[in-house]
Subunit: 211 residues, 2 copies
């Protein structure tokens, strides 16, 4: 299968981690968000939302939206599960993943930050205030939910880590102080020792520009 990705897209990063954890072969096609390649006619033919990621299967079927892709991977590739069998445990993990995917990330992705400083004409300082406000609100609540000494949702890696790690990476990129989140940071460091997370890391992507 083929993943349409960009090295530092938070949502594409999630899917790379899951593919690696499930040991699924895939090739990457880079869609450069800084060059607006996601708005090209060519990419819109693949994903009419013009968003990253999209996953094209070998028969040409295209899946879009990282959460939809991740749930499909979980349902289809049942080895190395990222959600447990118990429905209440699944709900607890999905509350974490969706708080990141719906309450934190959408307010801080590239298109929104660009709109604030572009169309709305706000300053870089105001953009940073906006960024910090929403990340703090979300991370404050997540920190309370982390189990000390484990991964984001307990003793083993789960879908919660797949969402948490890219969001923390994103926070560092925007110079967010993470001192207030020792439990989140412990999970982040622990995950980043794992080969699947290392391989998925933005710094290790072929489409990362040479500095």
């Amino acid at each position: 299968m083929e993943l349409f990705s960009y090295f530092r897209s938070t949502a594409a990063y999630r899917v790379r981690i899951a593919l690696n954890l499930k040991k699924i072969d895939y090739r990457l096609t880079s869609v450069n968000l800084l060059k607006n390649e996601q708005k090209s006619d060519e990419y819109h033919a693949i994903n009419p939302m013009g968003l990253i990621p999209a996953l094209r299967l070998d028969d040409g079927t295209v899946l879009t939206q990282s959460t939809a892709i991740l749930e499909w991977l979980e349902e289809t590739f049942t080895d190395n599960p990222l959600l447990p069998a118990d429905p209440l445990q699944r709900a607890r993990i999905r509350a974490i993943t969706n708080s990141i995917a719906c309450d934190i990330h959408p307010l801080n992705n590239l298109r929104v930050l660009r709109y604030l400083t572009g169309e709305l004409g706000l300053s870089e300082d105001t953009k940073q205030t906006w960024y910090n406000h929403w990340i703090q609100l979300g991370f404050d609540a997540l920190e309370k939910q982390m189990v000390p000494g484990g991964y984001a949702a307990g003793d083993s890696i789960s879908m919660a880590d797949v969402y948490l790690v890219p969001q923390v990476f994103n926070a560092f990129r925007f110079d967010m102080a993470m001192d207030a989140y020792p439990k989140i940071m412990a999970v982040y460091r622990r995950c980043n020792e794992h080969a699947a997370f290392i391989k998925a890391h933005p710094d290790n992507q072929e489409d990362k520009p040479v500095a």
Copy 2:
């Protein structure tokens, strides 16, 4: 079970529709967002994110995040399914639900609109420009995906309708012109003839203030 709801909360509206479609008994506890009741210590003890909805089960277990709640309902109450059995069809529906839950709704909910005019000091006109921008971007893409003559994802009601109808209601509330979206509007009208959608409608909630 007990749903913590607010009559015009988009995310609570989704859960009300699904509970009604699945014919599950529940009682409503109103959390008044305009009075900031979601920020009270009492409500934070129930949902540390301070967001609506939350679902409290009879044994006291609390589920949060509308998508996590809806997936749990789907897994636990298998009568009247809102997702089909086929994984690719499920992925297609979840791409619609997540484009609404992640790409459209988070940018336009009450807390974000308040932040724009409050902390950032933007005008009501600018807020409206922001609102229209993100709704248009999302609805333009959704309109292309609607199947004429059916529901949001085909011939029968699915999870896609559970997300679409509250988002269209929200758009009307913010005076969005919907003329450009005839297929979305046809789905909206068709769903609103259904008893489960009528019962879930904000106008039919006990906690709607008397005008």
